[in-house]
Each structure stands twice: as C-alpha cells, then as structure tokens.
Symmetry: C2
Subunit: 197 residues, 2 copies
DNA sequence: CTTTTTCATTAAACATGTTTAATAAATAAA
DNA sequence: TTTATTTATTAAACATGTTTAATGAAAAAG
C-alpha cells in the first residue's frame, strides 16, 4: 500500500458513500453522476475512472448488502425441512429486503438483467451461487427418495430460479404488489411445480 | 382525415420506416434519434413528439412483426396434441424469429421488461394474450383428465410463461446460446415441470 | 539528489435523449 | 372573407453519461 493507493482507496470510499446515500434517497434514475461527484467532492470523471460507468457503481454500491442478506438467509435455514420450505424461507427474507427500497433494486436489476454476465460479474455470481445451493438441496431430496433421481438437478434448480425471477419481476415493476402476495404466489407456484401440473 | 392529419400520419410513417431500417442495421444502441431524424428528413424533436421517447418508438417499430409472427405460430398449431407440443411449436417459431436479429430484440425486451406495464401496453398485451392462450390449453387438458382439476389455471400458465422467460433471457444475453439449445432446454424444463420434480 | 516514469485526478468537450419556446400553416369562428 | 385558434413542426437549449487531453504529484530509476 503506497501513499497513492491509500488516497485512491479513500477517493473510492468517498464516492461509494455519496453514491449509497443519494441512490437510496433519490433513486438511481433521479440522481446524476454530477450530483454524486459534488456530494463526494470529486469530479464526475473521477467516478467513471473508478467504476467504469454509473450502473457498475450502482452494483458495487449495493452488492455488499445484498450478499450479506442472502448470507443471513442461508445461515438461518430451517433445519431438516424440505426444499420448498427452505426456498420460501429465503424468499421471505429477500423480498422484504428489496421492499425497503423497491425502486432502488428495480433499477439495479433492470440495468443488469439482460446485459452480458461479464458486465456485472458479482451479481451473476450471486445468482449462480443461489442456483448451486438449490442443486444441493435437490440432491439431498433425491437421496431421501423425495425427488425422482433421474432428473437433471441443475436444470431443475435453474427453472425454480426462473419461477422466482418471474415473480420478482412482477414484484419490482408493480408497486401495488405487496410482499405477502408475492411470497404467497411463489409458494403456490412451487407447490404446482414440485408436484407436477 | 383532414389535410393536417394526413401530413402527420405521413411524417409518422417516414419516421417509422427510417427507424426500422436503422434499428435493424445498426442496432438500437448504436443509432441515435438524430440519425433516424436525418434519415427521415425530420427534426429529432418531431420524433419525440410523435412517439414520446426512443424506446416507445422501438416498440411501435417492432410490434407489428412480432404480433404477426405470434399469429402465424398460433394459426399453424399441431392439432390434437398436448400442451407441451403446442408450447414447443410456438417457441420453435418465436426463437428463430428473434434470432434473425437477437441484439435488436434483446434491447427491446431489456428496455421494457422492468418498466411499468403502461409504458409498453401493446407488448404487455401480447404477453397477457399468450398467457391466456396457455390458460385455455390447460383447461382443455383438465377436461381430458390429463391435468389435475384443482390447479389454478392462470397461475400454472403464468409460471410456464416464467420458465419461457428464463430461457429467453439466457438466449438473448448470451450470443453463443444457439436456438436449438434453447428450444431443447425449454423442452426439458417443461418435461420436468409438467410431470413434477 | 536528479531525472524519468507512472498514474490519480479533472476541466473541458462530446454524444445523445429530451424539453421548451417559437413559428407558420391549417382549421374553426366571426 | 377576415379573424382567431389550434397544432404539427423545429431550432435551440438542456441534462446527463462518458471520453479525452492535460496536469501535477508520487514512485521508480539513474
């Protein structure tokens, strides 16, 4: 760590703090890079040099809390319960988390959802981890004889994830869609698809 | 139709033709409103006045062909086949259609997917129609005793649609994901979820 | 210690979607 | 026919994300 690196890291933190504050309060669409720069006491160019673009800054600014929340959800799993209960437990933590500032997370997901994975690698990794976690759950259920053993675990996990994303989309784009409704909807959908239609 | 309305409609068509041409050839992200305006021989402001914003122009420019394609798919259904075969028939037409210019449709869907429904009402209507169509298929299968009669048809249809969207997302964001692979993946996913996991 | 090189920072410029205010021509009113 | 009003159009301005070129200070080389 040279003196230069220190100062660079300091600038980075200044930007991140201002970004978190303004993104949270005004929403990413309603605050400009110039606003954040002014609040942080740096130039707009500096923000782009540090983070490449506004969306990447948003991702870095929000990533840590999302990951922490997911971590907490995984650490507080209901033991010896089935796949569905475990998934619903996680969703029951994630959706209220997003609900604390739905517009904020809507913009984050909107701006990364259809972009190449390498543009938002940490978010993509989070999703991939989640899917992998579902895979292990499915494999457990297979071993206990609850699920057919001939199914492709990763495919099954991916598609359960797609069902979650479908509900999440409605949740994020429709402010009237309440957390409890979303959770309930997903629960019913999981029922449907675990038992077969 | 007054003379004013005629000229307005003419301007609209000029804009739409130029937009279709440039969107298709350069991609929506790589051609500006000014480019389209110049090609159409109108002012950039005129485009915004006519279509409200660039994304809305994109939607209007592409809607008709999408709807036509979906219509053709529905008109050429394999008769007396099950839900899965019918869905795969439709997907086998839609994905090759998007594949003719994947980047173009990727941008369209990216820019509307998480926006309020009223921002892209015709696309939303298309989706809703598709879901309703699946509902009727499910109800048929129920009558024939192939599906459990206690399931919520609309919920089941929605979730099948979510599975499609999950695959579509991968298809659009990953240029290496080939049509045949996507179709195959979705087929396997449908197997999984119709039979139960 | 001096010189050279690296690099964090930024002012200014640029690209582009959109808004605003003005204009002129078509339509409606008199 | 004359006057008033509506409205399609646009030039100019604006907002904002991003790029470029310049600068100065820190680090490395001599």
């Amino acid at each position: 760590m040279t003196r230069r690196d220190d100062s660079k890291a300091e600038t980075r933190e200044l930007i991140l703090n201002s970004a978190r504050s303004l993104f949270w309060e005004k929403g990413p669409d309603k605050c400009s890079v110039r606003d954040i720069a002014k609040e942080a006491g740096v130039s707009p160019a500096s923000i782009i040099v540090h983070f490449k673009n506004k969306t990447a800054l948003l991702e870095v600014a929000l990533y840590e809390e999302i990951e922490k929340t997911l971590g907490k959800a995984l650490a507080s799993l209901p033991s010896d319960q089935g796949l569905q209960a475990v998934l619903m437990h996680i969703v029951s933590i994630i959706l209220p988390f997003y609900d604390k500032n739905r517009e904020l997370y809507r913009v984050l997901i909107r701006d990364t959802f259809f972009e190449p994975i390498q543009e938002s690698p940490s978010l993509a990794q989070l999703d991939e981890n989640f899917i992998q976690f579902i895979v292990t759950l499915i494999n457990q259920e297979k071993k206990m004889g609850n699920f057919r053993s001939d199914i492709d675990s990763h495919l099954a996990a991916s598609s359960l994830f797609y069902l979650y994303l479908g509900v999440l989309r409605n949740f994020l784009r429709n402010p009237n869609f309440r957390v409890a409704e979303a959770v309930d909807t997903l629960s019913k959908i999981l029922n449907l698809h675990l038992a077969g239609i």
